[in-house]
Symmetry: C2
Subunit: 214 residues, 2 copies
């Protein structure tokens, strides 16, 4: 199962990191493979190693006070989690939950290397800052969704995002699961989905939704 680590990293980060850094990463990191639904990080956990996403997609969730979660954003190939960065650097507990959206793999890097490379590699510094910026930007996007959009628009966005990260127009989720990630109720989701179907935007089946006329 141990493929060539260097090749794997190059595929996801070849255009971002310099040769020497890729070699170093390959040396010190361990490969972790995950399956859909795996809980990669939970709220309150300390993070000892920083993950670099090689393949697959991960969803980042924020927990409701009473119950339920809220999807903040997805991570894809070439992403890392800035929340994790925050935890590594600040040595604090995770404020979010990370769950595998589909199967994939990541390289885990020891925290001390992370800091060392900040001084050593300009490309690493750039990567770290770019990651932070991307995450802030996604958070702004999440805020926009919550503050300015009604449920129907949020749901439509959700379906499109989901289709994108899974690279398929078929969404394999129950209404209950969707409701959970949008922090609303199943009945509301069913209602809105039915309306979308009547408008010809989607086709509803048992356990899956097909996006039409993209």
């Amino acid at each position: 199962m141990e493929l060539n680590m260097e090749e794997l990293i190059k595929q996801a980060y070849g255009s971002v990191f310099e040769e020497a850094l890729i070699k170093e990463i390959a040396e010190v990191s361990t490969l972790v493979e995950f399956e859909e639904g795996d809980k990669l990080i939970d709220i309150g956990e300390y993070i000892r190693r920083m993950p670099l996403l090689l393949t697959g997609a991960i969803k980042i969730l924020r927990e409701d006070r009473d119950e339920g979660d809220l999807l903040l954003y997805f991570l894809e190939k070439g992403d890392t989690c800035a929340m994790t960065l925050a935890c590594c650097m600040g040595d604090t507990r995770s404020e979010i939950r990370a769950i595998a959206e589909n199967s994939g793999s990541l390289a885990m890097i020891p925290v001390n290397k992370m800091e060392e490379w900040l001084g050593k590699y300009k490309s690493w510094r750039n990567f770290v800052f770019t990651s932070y910026n991307k995450r802030l930007s996604e958070m702004l996007n999440a805020v926009d969704n919550l503050a300015f959009m009604k449920m129907d628009e949020r749901l439509l966005n959700y379906l499109n995002e989901k289709a994108k990260v899974n690279n398929s127009d078929i969404i394999n989720n129950t209404h209950q699961e969707i409701a959970y990630e949008l922090n609303t109720s199943r009945v509301v989701v069913s209602r809105l989905l039915k309306a979308f179907e009547n408008e010809g935007k989607i086709k509803l089946n048992r356990n899956n939704i097909v996006l039409l006329n993209k």
Copy 2:
């Protein structure tokens, strides 16, 4: 008006930066004083100099698609705007608006120094990362507010935050202004405020609100 720059910086950042760095900052930065209501950064602007807040408070707003804003968070002494960091490093346009909540002052630092210091001073590196982390954390807080709280709770939070940054239990805002920053309507704000008054939480006057029994 030109007070001793070094002293000013030391007051706000004495415990964060090392001596040598404070000296350097004092040398290259320019002092900007601002009054309540001054627009410091607007959406779409490029940012050429990075601001360090010395005194006063600044509110950071996100613009609605059609009209109105939404308050994301406040900055206080010792803070900088990570969104600004993002813009400086990434050389992109600002995604947020920054307006002075009250009068104060800031030190403006040329972008190139910022990068130089990243290599030179550990305390600067720490500061930059801490700022990013704080901002991510505040964004999470904004998300929590929007996703999990009803309007009454959001309003109460808003009043408390406002009292804190202005260091006064008297809030000098019209209902209309509050509605604007919470992205709701004046009628809703008046309604909820009246309910708070009936519950003995606040005292309503013309153009100001007094927080009681803290």
